[in-house]
């Protein structure tokens, strides 16, 4: 019998990380757009700030990968 628990766990780890990243980036992105509209010179800083929540999904991906490795 196939154990679905491990791939589901990996899916949750990756999916929730991606969801959290999306929520964080939506707020930061909106605020970033507002800031750049007034101060275009802040563009570089805003790109970095928008990218920071990517760490959440990367961590989720790493955890998911580790879980999947356990499966092999």
């Amino acid at each position: 019998m196939v154990d679905f628990g491990i791939p589901i766990g990996a899916g949750i780890a990756f999916g929730l990380g991606a969801l959290a990243t999306g929520i964080a980036q939506s707020k930061i992105g909106a605020a970033g757009a507002g800031t750049i509209a007034e101060k275009p010179e802040m563009f570089g800083l805003m790109i970095i700030l928008v990218a920071i929540p990517e760490t959440l999904v990367i961590l989720g991906f790493v955890v998911a990968s580790m879980i999947m490795i356990m499966l092999v």
């Binding site: 707020k27 930061i28 909106a30 605020a31 970033g32 757009a33 507002g34 800031t35 509209a37 007034e38 101060k39 802040m42």
Partner: protein, 350 residues
Amino acid sequence: MEYAYVNARIKAMKSRLLDRTLLEQLINKPDIDSIITELEKTTYREELDRAGVLFSGINRIEVAIRNDLVKKFRTILNLIKGGESEQLISIILQRWDIQNIKTILRGKNIQENPSEILECLIPAGELDEAALTELVKQPDIKAVIDLLATWGIVYARPLALNFKEFTDTGDMVVLEYALDTFYYEDAISGVKAAESEDARILMKMIITEIDINNIKTVLRAIRDRIDVEEAKRYFINGSPDFHAGKLISMMKTGTIEGALKQLEKSPYEFITKIPKEYIAAEKISAFEKELEQYLIKKAISQFMGDPLSIAIPIAYIWAKYSEVTNIRVIARSIFMEVPEKELREALISV
């Protein structure tokens, strides 16, 4: 309402407000031309250039800062267009409608030249420049009220209701208080209908304004020995702490010192610390200035409030207003060669 975008823009606009160092530099300028040169290095450049076509000297500064203020307020209103936030911000901006109507009425009362009246107006509310120009052209107060009524502007109602009393007494205060009372009562009912966190933030500000207006009324009434029954008519309802009963008990003390004693342990306790000589001389202007400073400081401190709420636009509106007022005070003081000490006393320090 997507406050992340709007408030980030407003905070960026805030970062371009003039800081204390720049105001100090303006204070130290010897004449109007050097103030213009300094202001041209700031965000006022565009409006100064535009105003420079038709005006020069102090008028150029006045027109430029007024247009800049109006432009910024319109930007905020456009950013939050639609929904409850726009309604709430409109309530704040309607203060300028009230101020403009009062200025027009005062001007008409003393038969001032229409162009002189127009120079004192700030078209930041719902009545735009075209509407105000039309109002100013009216021959007298009655015609101004009639025109407001024809346009369906709500402020015509309190003015029309109190016009007879004004013609009997000739006292402008009657019309001014009618307008104030109508504005605050209308604002409170508008904000109460909203029932949101934003509405709660704005309600606090409106109640502070009402308290300050009522405290000023009490102090003036005591100074002018006006009896309680007469003064009571000019109290604005709506404040839970400084309701009519509390204000009457302040009035009944009969002295400024007694009235101030009743402010102890309230948010307005700070005015009890004003030097005794002002109290003895019944110099109400000192108390009024302190109360106004408190209101502006409280409004600007909203920048520290919830960054995803109406607190940021409210704070910006007041910060911009205080900046424009300070530039105007500096320019006028230097133009009239007012001593630096008096100039500094007249500034709003935040």
